[in-house]
C-alpha cells in the first residue's frame, strides 16, 4: 500500500463502536449522554430500552373522529336534500342558492381542516415523543410496525383516521405477541376502511341475499401478502378468498344508525360455513373463525421468516446474514411470535453489530436523530412536520399498503440529497448557540473519521460546521 493510500485509509476509516451501534443503528440516535450510558454494556443497554410507549392522551380517539365525520356527512346530505327542494320550489332565487352553496363550502372546509389538523397533531406528537424519548428504540419499533401496517391518508375519512392506527392498535401490542398486534390492527377502523373490509359481506350471508353487496378481497390479500406470509409465502388465490370470507362481517359501526362507533362484527354479513385456509379447516362460527385464521397466520413459519427479514433489514442491514435471521425465526417459533423476544434475539446476535455503516437513514430517521442530537428546547410543530414533507416522507402518505421503502436506493438520490443539504443548512441557521463539536461528541462519540472530524472543525462558520456534521457520512449512515 502506498503512503498516500495508507493516509487516505486512516483519514476515512470509521469503525463504529458498539455504543454507537446501540444508540444510532438500533435507536433514533443519541440524545444527551446516551453514548456514555450505552458504553459499559451496549447489548444490555439496548435490550433494556424495549419499554412501553405512550402518547399525548388529549388527542381524540378514532371513535370521536368517526362520529364527527358521520355527523358531517349527515348534515351534508340534509343540505343537499334541502337544496334539491329549494331548487324545485324556487329555482329562480339565485340569492338563496348562493348563500346555501357558501354554507356548504364552509362546512366542508371545516371538517377537512379539522381532520388535517388532527393528522398533523398526531404525527407531530409521535415525532416529538421519538425525539424526546429516553428509550427511542421502542419508537423505532413503532415506526417499523406503523409502516409494516401502512395506511395512507387518502380521502377525508382516512385523513382523520390514519394516524390513530399506530396509537390505538400498534403501540399497545408493540412488545407482545404478533398475533395480538395483528388482530388489533385488522380490527381497527382505520385498516378496515383503508382496505375496504367494512363493506365486505359473504355472498351467501343474510344481508347479501337482501341487497346487492358481496365480497371484497382487498384486506385479506394484503394481510397475507404484506402483513403476514409475504408475497412468496406459499398461499394461493383460493386462500385469499377463503380468508376474505373468514373475515366477512368485520366492519365499523355507523354512529348515525347505531350506538357508538368503532369495530363491530356484523353476523348477518358473515359468510356461513367452514373455511379452508392453507389446507387447514376452520369450522368456527362467527367472528372467531377469522380470528383463528389470523392467529394461525401469525405463527406460520412463513410469517416468522417474512417479518424477521423485514425487521433485520430495517434494524441491521440491507443484506442481513442468514445466521441472524435463523436466530430470530427460531425465537419467533419458540415464543409464538413474541416481538420483544424476537428483538432481544436480534440485539443479542453478534451479526447485528458489524462495525461498518450498514444503512442510510430514511428522512424520518434523519430528522428525528438530528433533532435528538441538537436537542432544541422547543421545535415548532409546523417546522417539524414540514421537514418530513420537504424531505419526501410526509407521514401517512406512502400511498400504498406496502408502506415507505426501507432501501437505500430509494432514499439516497441526487435530489433527495440536495433536499437534505437545504434542510440541514436551514436547521443549522436556526441554532443559536451552535456547537458542532459538542453535538458531534454527543451523537457520534469517537465513531467519526479523522476526515469528517477535521472538516467539521475547520468549517468557516459555526453554521457551516453544523451542516457538515449533519450531512456527514457518519450521521447519514448507521
Amino acid at each position: 500500500m502506498s503512503d498516500n493510500s495508507m493516509y487516505e485509509k486512516s483519514m476515512s476509516s470509521i469503525s463504529y463502536s458498539k455504543a454507537y451501534i446501540a444508540v444510532n443503528r438500533f435507536g433514533y440516535g443519541a440524545r444527551g449522554d446516551e453514548l456514555v450510558q450505552a458504553k459499559a454494556n451496549p447489548k444490555q443497554w439496548i435490550i433494556s430500552q424495549l419499554l412501553p410507549i405512550a402518547f399525548n392522551s388529549s388527542l381524540p380517539h378514532s371513535n370521536d373522529i368517526f362520529i364527527e365525520f358521520a355527523n358531517y356527512r349527515k348534515a351534508q346530505k340534509q343540505q343537499k336534500n334541502k337544496k334539491q327542494q329549494s331548487k324545485n320550489n324556487q329555482s329562480n332565487s339565485e340569492m338563496s342558492k348562493k348563500v346555501k352553496s357558501d354554507n356548504k363550502m364552509n362546512k366542508k372546509g371545516m371538517v377537512n381542516n379539522s381532520a388535517r389538523h388532527i393528522l398533523r397533531s398526531m404525527s407531530v406528537d409521535t415525532l416529538n415523543r421519538a425525539i424526546q424519548s429516553s428509550h427511542s428504540v421502542s419508537w423505532r419499533l413503532l415506526d417499523f410496525f406503523s409502516n409494516h401496517f401502512s395506511v395512507s391518508a387518502n380521502g377525508r375519512l382516512m385523513v382523520g383516521l390514519s394516524a390513530t392506527l399506530e396509537r390505538e392498535a400498534i403501540a399497545p401490542n408493540l412488545l407482545g405477541k404478533f398475533e395480538d398486534l395483528l388482530l388489533a390492527v385488522e380490527q381497527h377502523p382505520a385498516m378496515l376502511i383503508y382496505l375496504n373490509n367494512e363493506k365486505s359481506f359473504g355472498p351467501n350471508s343474510r344481508v347479501a341475499k337482501k341487497r346487492k353487496i358481496g365480497l371484497n378481497e382487498n384486506l385479506a390479500r394484503e394481510i397475507m401478502e404484506l402483513h403476514t406470509l409475504g408475497v412468496d409465502g406459499g398461499y394461493s388465490q383460493e386462500d385469499v378468498i377463503e380468508l376474505a370470507k373468514g373475515i366477512t362481517g368485520w366492519s365499523v359501526k355507523n354512529p348515525i344508525k347505531e350506538r357508538g362507533a368503532g369495530f363491530t362484527f356484523r353476523a348477518h354479513g358473515h359468510e356461513p360455513g367452514s373455511r379452508t385456509l392453507l389446507g387447514k379447516e376452520y369450522s368456527e362460527k362467527g367472528i372467531t373463525q377469522g380470528q383463528q385464521m389470523l392467529r394461525d397466520l401469525a405463527i406460520n413459519p412463513a410469517t416468522a421468516k417474512y417479518v424477521c427479514f423485514k425487521l433485520a433489514h430495517h434494524f441491521v442491514s440491507e443484506n442481513p446474514p442468514a445466521s441472524l435471521l435463523n436466530k430470530m425465526e427460531t425465537t419467533w417459533m419458540k415464543t409464538g411470535g413474541n416481538l420483544k423476544q424476537v428483538m432481544v434475539s436480534l440485539f443479542s446476535a453478534d451479526e447485528a453489530w458489524s462495525a461498518s455503516a450498514q444503512k442510510f437513514k430514511t428522512p424520518r430517521e434523519f430528522v428525528i436523530s438530528a433533532n435528538r442530537a441538537i436537542a432544541l428546547k422547543k421545535i415548532k410543530p409546523k417546522v417539524l412536520f414540514n421537514s418530513l414533507v420537504s424531505l419526501g416522507q410526509q407521514p401517512f402518505t406512502a400511498g400504498s399498503p406496502a408502506g415507505f421503502s426501507d432501501d437505500e436506493s430509494d432514499w439516497l438520490g441526487a435530489s433527495a440529497l440536495m433536499a437534505r443539504i437545504d434542510w440541514s443548512t436551514m436547521v443549522s441557521g436556526y441554532l443559536k448557540r451552535s456547537n458542532a463539536e459538542k453535538v458531534m461528541t454527543v451523537s457520534l462519540g469517537d465513531s467519526v473519521s479523522q476526515h469528517t472530524y477535521q472538516s467539521v472543525m475547520r468549517a468557516e462558520s459555526r453554521q457551516q460546521a453544523m451542516t457538515l456534521l449533519l450531512m456527514s457520512p457518519e450521521f447519514q449512515r448507521r
Binding site: 438520490g413 441526487a414 443548512t425 436551514m426 468557516e460 451542516t467
Partner: protein, 406 residues
C-alpha cells in the same frame, strides 16, 4: 420618562400580528416572513425611527477575508514575491486607491464610492483575537469585549444604550445582537438555504464516500441544468443581493429600523482563491449596491461597517489559496462616511514585519474604528462607549462627514 414607560408597556405585549403583515408586505414578492416576533412597540411606532436618523449596517464576512487580495498593496515589493501566482491572477486591471493601494477589480461599486469619498478602506486591522479558529474568531469579533461572550454582542449593547432597534437578517440572532430585546430576526423562507460554499465543503467531505459523492455531483449537475439563464445570473450574484434588497426595504419601511446586521460566508479560500474571490467579491459588491439603491435617500445617513474574523497568510499556499492569518481589513462605507482615502498604518510585508513571520501585522483595532463610528454617527460619549467596548477606546479619526472629532 413617559417615553421609557411606554416602551416597557409595549414590550410586554410581544408579537403583534399587524407588524407581521406589514413586514410581509414590505418584504415584497417571493419573500415571506419566517420568524418575526415584533414587539408592539415596533408596530405602533411608539419609538418611531425618524427619517434621516443615522443608520448603521454591520456586515460580517464569515470565513476570513484575504485582505491582501482585496486591498492590494501594489507598492510593496514583497507582495509579488510572497504571492507570485495570486498577484498575477487578476483578469482585469486593479482599481487604484491612494498610496499605491488598489481594490480588487470586482469591487466596482465600492471603488466608485471611494472616488465619491464615501468609502473608507482600513488596512491591517484586527479584533485582537490572537489565534486562528473561525468559530472563536467570529465570536470574539461579535462579542467585542476583548474576550468571547456568546451571550452579549457589541451591537446589542450599542443599540440598548441609544434606544435603537435592530434587525438581524438571519434565522437566529447572531452573537453581535445578543443581549438586547430590541432585536428581531428575519430571513426569507422562499430562498433555498444551501449555497455554493456548502456544496464545495461537502464535496470535500464526501471524497471517501463514493455514493454520497456521486449523488452530490449529480444533484449539482441537475441544479445547473434546470436553472434558466436569468437564474444562473442570479446565482452569480448569489442570494446576498436578495438579502440586502430585503434589508433595505425593511429599514426604510413604516417600522423604521436604525440598525441591521447581515452575514456573508464563503471567504475561507484555502484553494482556488483567485476565482472564488472574484465571484465572492462581485456578490458582495452587487449586494452592497442593492442596499444603497434600496435605501434611497436614507443612504446619506447610513454607515455600513464590513468586518471579518481575521486575515490570511501573507504568503500564498501550494493550492492557489491562503491559510488562516491575523491582520485583515475593515471597510466603512455609506453616504455618511468621510472616505476617499486608505486608513490604517501599513506594517510592511518583510519577514520581520509580519506577525509570527507569516501574517499581516495588525496595526489598529477593529473596535477602535467601530468606536469612532459610534461616537461620531450615534453620538456615543466615551463613557457610553465603555459599555460597548470595555477594552477599547475610539480612534481620534474623522470617519463620519461633518462630525466633530472627539
Amino acid at each position: 420618562m413617559k417615553y421609557s414607560n411606554e416602551q416597557q408597556i409595549n414590550l410586554s405585549e410581544k408579537s403583534s400580528g399587524l407588524s407581521r403583515r406589514k413586514f410581509i408586505k414590505m418584504a415584497g414578492t417571493g419573500l415571506a416572513v419566517l420568524s418575526f416576533p415584533m414587539s408592539s412597540a415596533f408596530a405602533k411606532g411608539s419609538i418611531k425611527a425618524n427619517k434621516n436618523s443615522p443608520k448603521i449596517v454591520w456586515l460580517v464576512l464569515r470565513g476570513a477575508l484575504d485582505s491582501l487580495h482585496t486591498i492590494v498593496p501594489t507598492f510593496d515589493p514583497q507582495y509579488k514575491k510572497l504571492r507570485p501566482k495570486l498577484s498575477t491572477s487578476f483578469k482585469t486591471p486593479l482599481l487604484p486607491l491612494e498610496k499605491g493601494f488598489a481594490l480588487h477589480p470586482s469591487l466596482i461599486n465600492l471603488h466608485q464610492w471611494y472616488q465619491e469619498k464615501t468609502m473608507l478602506p482600513i488596512v491591517a486591522v484586527s479584533s485582537g483575537y490572537p489565534k486562528r479558529s473561525h468559530f472563536d474568531g467570529q465570536d470574539f469579533l461579535e462579542s467585542g469585549k476583548g474576550e468571547i461572550d456568546q451571550y452579549s454582542g457589541w451591537l446589542a449593547r450599542a443599540i440598548d444604550i441609544k434606544h435603537k432597534k435592530a434587525l438581524a437578517v438571519s434565522r437566529s440572532t447572531p452573537i453581535s445582537l445578543r443581549s438586547s430585546d430590541q432585536v428581531n430576526t428575519w430571513y426569507p423562507s422562499k430562498l433555498k438555504d444551501a449555497d455554493d460554499d456548502i456544496y464545495s465543503a461537502l464535496s470535500q467531505l464526501y471524497q471517501y464516500d463514493e455514493s454520497l459523492k456521486e449523488k452530490l455531483k449529480k444533484g449539482l449537475e441537475v441544479k445547473g441544468l434546470v436553472e434558466s439563464e436569468p437564474s444562473k445570473a442570479k446565482k452569480r450574484n448569489g442570494k446576498f443581493i436578495e438579502l440586502t434588497k430585503a434589508c433595505a426595504k425593511l429599514m426604510i419601511g413604516d417600522e423604521g429600523l436604525d440598525c441591521a446586521m447581515l452575514e456573508l460566508g464563503g471567504w475561507d479560500t484555502h484553494n482556488n482563491q483567485s476565482n472564488r474571490l472574484e465571484q465572492k467579491l462581485t456578490e458582495l459588491d452587487n449586494g452592497l449596491a442593492a442596499l444603497k439603491s434600496g435605501l434611497g435617500e436614507e443612504w446619506a445617513n447610513t454607515v455600513v461597517i464590513i468586518g471579518t474574523e481575521f486575515g490570511r497568510t501573507a504568503k500564498e499556499n501550494g493550492t492557489g489559496g491562503t491559510d488562516h492569518g491575523t491582520g485583515s481589513a475593515l471597510f466603512i462605507a455609506g453616504g455618511a462616511v468621510n472616505g476617499g482615502k486608505v486608513a490604517g498604518h501599513w506594517p510592511g510585508l518583510k519577514e520581520d514585519e509580519l506577525f509570527a513571520q507569516r501574517d499581516l501585522m495588525p496595526t489598529s483595532n477593529s473596535f477602535g474604528w467601530i468606536g469612532s463610528v459610534l461616537s461620531q454617527h450615534w453620538q456615543f460619549s466615551e463613557a457610553e462607549l465603555k459599555g460597548v467596548f470595555p477594552q477599547m477606546k475610539s480612534y481620534d479619526k474623522k470617519v463620519i462627514k461633518g462630525s466633530v472629532r472627539c
